[in-house]
């Protein structure tokens, strides 16, 4: 995956420090410049990148004063710490992924237009179906043309029951009915798909609040396109301010984009990335483990395969 490439670049930059005879301002600046450029090219938020740079410099300069400290180690650790704190939300993502069977888990999907919610909803249902859950899908998107057909066709492909309406126009009403219906039928995973929306349109956010209020989801997942740029933070924050976002799924990671925009979504929503989408097909969906990623960062060893398929 592409975050790997970012990891590699950072490793390379850090090796400049390893290989330098003495570590002066010049070496540090050159190393930081490479790291900063790699992060910016991966769409990490410009302000976050600046912060990382300043913090590493401060720690390196402080190390100058302390006698006998290994400056190489300090700089390396500073870089890794800063990156880890960008990637980790402080929430253990395992708890969010390990759903309890036999009780109705209501999961609501939200996100910007075209992010991949409808596709990911079914992937998510299929993932848990394999683990023995009884998933069901509710289409609470009454806005987008063909939205219900899309969900229906995906659900049918994966043999997952679905609920929706061609005539009801209030998504909150559909969502509530669908959830109630599937609870009665003892489904233990009820997934609610919603319309795409953006923070600039208040009425869309109000609608999202209503769907959430009517369905009382156990988890709200923010779906984000892996190629998103600098608008990521503002949008993610606005979603979080409106509903209780608890997890992030990053989509379209089979593309060329490096997924750095999502790091600001992690920061803004204080929610971990739990899965990534790696293609249009229903099985192109992987668990994401931030810890494993950070672990690799600390070990600076093998950058490949830190996601478990």
């Amino acid at each position: 995956m592409v975050l790997n490439e970012l990891g590699q670049k950072i490793s390379q930059a850090l090796s400049m420090i390893q290989n330098a005879e003495t570590i002066d301002e010049k070496v540090l600046d050159a190393c930081l410049k490479e790291i900063v450029t790699a992060l910016l090219q991966a769409d990490v938020n410009v302000r976050l990148v600046g912060k990382l740079r300043d913090n590493v410099k401060t720690r390196a300069n402080n190390a100058d004063k302390g006698a006998g400290l290994n400056k190489r180690k300090i700089i390396e650790k500073a870089v890794v710490d800063e990156l880890s704190s960008m990637l980790s939300s402080g929430v253990d993502e395992k708890k969010l992924v390990d759903l309890k069977k036999g009780q109705p888990n209501v999961i609501m999907f939200v996100g910007l237009q075209g992010a991949g919610k409808t596709t990911t909803c079914t992937k998510y249902g299929a993932y848990y179906k394999k683990k023995g859950f009884k998933p069901a899908l509710v289409c609470a998107d009454t806005f987008r043309a063909g939205a219900f057909d899309q969900l229906k066709q995906n659900a049918t492909k994966m043999s997952i029951p679905f609920y929706g309406s061609y005539t009801e126009t209030d998504p909150a009403v559909i969502a509530a009915k669908g959830v109630e219906e599937f609870k009665k039928q003892n489904h233990d995973l009820i997934i609610v798909d919603t319309s795409g929306r953006h923070k600039q349109e208040d009425s869309l956010f109000e609608e999202m609040r209503q769907v959430s209020a009517m369905t009382k989801p156990d988890l709200i997942i923010f779906v984000m396109d892996g190629s998103i740029g600098q608008a990521a933070e503002d949008q993610a924050k606005a979603f979080k301010d409106t509903v209780e976002v608890g997890a992030v799924i990053l989509t379209k990671m089979d593309g060329h984009a490096k997924g750095g925009g999502a790091l600001s979504a992690v920061a803004a929503t204080k929610s971990p990335i739990v899965f990534i989408g790696t293609g249009e097909h229903m099985d192109e969906f992987e668990r994401f483990e931030p810890k494993a990623f950070v672990g690799r960062l600390l070990g600076r060893g093998d950058w490949r395969g830190f996601v478990d398929k």
Binding site: V46, Q113, A145, E201, I228, G229, D234
Partner: protein, 308 residues
């Protein structure tokens, strides 16, 4: 210090050196990136401005920072101002005189807004008394055909569709014949979204374009995209020309439709990345989810947002 600030910011008649301009340029580069211009593009813009400014003499009391800023401003204007302009309505009229439907193919990565903005273009054409047919050549994504059916019903426009899993190039071919038979002025061809690195899908798209020789290939890109904008445009253009059966007649991107412009506030940088990379003009801007949300790019206001 205060004195140093004064003496370095007012250069007087001495020629500008790189040291004079670098700080101001770095500040502007950062600003461009904050506005979502791709890193590589921001770097190239400031680099070319630096090369131009170096050795120039400023009038007394002109601040280096304002000289740099206005140089960047005019560079941005230059980049964003289309080198070639396409008058679609005129070209449609010409095609009509020849008795051929004018064909527009919409291409781009997944979920950027191809189908929705195709419907907006249909609406705009109808407003201009141009008759339209739509071809459902996304035969892959669930609901893609029904999505267009809904739009066609609302717009009162015929849809040419053959359901799913058909060869899109063939559907487009048949749709062109149908549009001709039905004396439609324009055929709008929807295609499936695809990642620029997906070789088989890019090959299929190239084939669709080669077989059907459309009048216009519109690349649909979203304003939300970050650095990937550069790679998308580069690879779509590259793949379309590499994979064409006959390099001489290869048809690459003619214009850009920039969508979701209503979701990014002042982070308008994708517009710059896309135009800089492809040299293609931004012909339309999508700024909402209804039929009327289609605009022309206002270069001045984009430049203003970039530097604000």
């Amino acid at each position: 210090s205060f004195v140093r600030n004064i003496t370095t910011s007012v250069v007087g008649t001495a020629a500008l050196t790189r040291e004079d301009i670098v700080p101001a340029l770095q500040g502007l580069k950062k600003k461009l990136m904050e506005r979502n211009v791709a890193e590589g593009i921001a770097e190239k813009v400031v680099e070319s401005v630096a090369a131009n400014l170096e050795g120039q003499r400023l009038g007394s009391f002109t601040r280096v920072s304002s000289a740099v800023r206005s140089a960047v401003e005019s560079a941005l204007h230059r980049i964003l101002t289309p080198r070639r302009s396409i008058d679609i309505l005129r070209d449609i009229a010409l095609a009509k005189a020849r008795g051929k439907p004018y064909t527009i193919v919409f291409v781009g990565v997944n979920g950027v807004g191809k189908s929705t903005n195709l419907a907006k273009i249909a609406y705009w054409l109808l407003q201009n008394d141009v008759s339209v047919m739509i071809a459902a050549c996304d035969t892959f994504r669930s609901g893609a055909v029904e999505q267009l059916k809904t739009h066609c019903a609302r717009l009162g426009v015929p849809l040419y569709e053959r359901g799913y899993e058909k060869d899109p190039a063939k559907v487009a071919f048949e749709a062109q014949r149908a549009a001709e038979r039905n004396h439609k002025d324009v055929l709008l061809v929807d295609t499936a979204g695809r990642m620029q690195d997906n070789e088989p899908l890019m090959r299929a798209l190239s084939n669709l374009i080669t077989v059907n020789s459309p009048d216009l290939v519109l690349f649909v890109g979203e304003a939300l995209v970050g650095n990937d904008a550069v790679d998308q445009l580069t690879k779509f253009n590259q793949r379309l020309s590499d994979l064409a059966t006959d390099a001489a007649t290869a048809h690459t991107i003619d214009g850009i439709l920039l969508t979701k412009f209503d979701t990014i506030d002042d982070k308008v940088g994708a517009a710059l990345s896309m135009v800089y990379t492809s040299g293609a003009p931004i012909m339309f801007v999508g700024c909402g989810q209804t039929y009327v949300d289609l605009k022309r790019l206002n270069v001045k206001s984009v430049v203003r947002s970039l530097l604000k």
